[in-house]
Symmetry: C2
């Protein structure tokens, strides 16, 4: 369980053996099976979740009943509704499991203790968030400048693994497109690359 976590953290910062022991006590392991919820929209988000194995999706259901996926979280990723977690307001997102998934839960109180007691973790999260910002910026740019086809191709290029693990209607939702649009884009690409 914790090996994946420490592996991932130590790509950014180093931890002493003692720090690792302390950290283990902060996390609560949990297993989710396919379709099980980690967070339900409207409830209060209580944890950050580190994905050890499996695949989660974070999504919002809007007024018209449409689902919009905000994030896929695979092994080594964090999932949460941080806005709800930090403000205590009801969550705008649901999180559930696309595959059977193992997570390590970190409560807000433990998150704060962690940051206080282990300076390396302050650094870790700074770097993690810094990198996340870069990718969000790119997505944000892509959302308003790219065509449906460009969005699809760009995701297929940067995350080929996702395309295999996730049904296309979820990819569509993630890209802000209708499932039918994805289907048509794929056909068009096939036709173009065929000859």
């Amino acid at each position: 369980m914790f090996e994946t976590l420490f592996d991932h953290i130590e790509r950014k910062v180093l931890l002493t053996q003692q720090e690792k022991v302390i950290m283990e006590s902060f996390f609560l392991p949990k297993e989710l099976h396919r379709k099980e919820f980690l967070l339900v929209q409207g409830e209060h988000c209580k944890n950050l979740a580190f994905v050890v194995k499996g695949l989660l999706k974070t999504y919002n259901i809007d007024d018209k009943g449409n689902e919009h996926i905000n994030l896929f979280a695979m092994e080594g990723w964090w999932a949460s509704d941080m806005l709800s977690l930090f403000t205590g307001k009801p969550s705008n997102f649901s999180i559930d499991a696309i595959e059977d998934t193992d997570v390590l839960l970190l409560s807000l109180a433990n998150y704060n203790s962690l940051l206080e007691k282990i300076p390396a973790m302050e650094r870790y999260f700074r770097i993690l968030y810094q990198n996340s910002l870069l990718t969000k910026d790119i997505r944000l740019m892509s959302a308003s400048t790219h065509t449906a086809e460009e969005k699809y191709l760009s995701l297929a290029l940067s995350h080929p693994d996702l395309m295999h693990r996730v049904p296309q209607n979820l990819i569509a939702s993630y890209l802000g497109l209708a499932p039918e649009t994805i289907s048509r884009v794929k056909r068009k690409i096939k036709r173009n690359t065929a000859q």
Copy 2:
């Protein structure tokens, strides 16, 4: 100059007098007048810029020659192309001044020294990035779920100050809409609220 910087930082973390003295040596003050560039798309981004006074815009020009504003940075905001700064790759953004603007420049080397020498700054940037992530998430959601009218109203509500300082064609660019669309949205809102 530095008062604005420290005021802003000390809303998140506390600094000792000694730390402030050290920090001052890391920053280079610079004045920009209206339309002057801080960064030109395609060049290498060398600095983080803290806006002391004025207003900057960060934007990308796409293949078709369209300008897409990524960020407005007013007093107390940071502007940079972090991807270019950290990777050394050519920048995807230009940054220029909408108003005459005073900035404090922080080079990559000084940014790293800062983080190393002053743990409070590690914490400051972790919190800064954490908050930025939240707002980016909201923008990202808004970009794919909201109509033109909703996007406009939501910005008008959350940043009324911007609407007064920035011409509408730039607002349009920021929201990923055509300037004409903003004009029509405004007319519609006026008609609806009139009676």
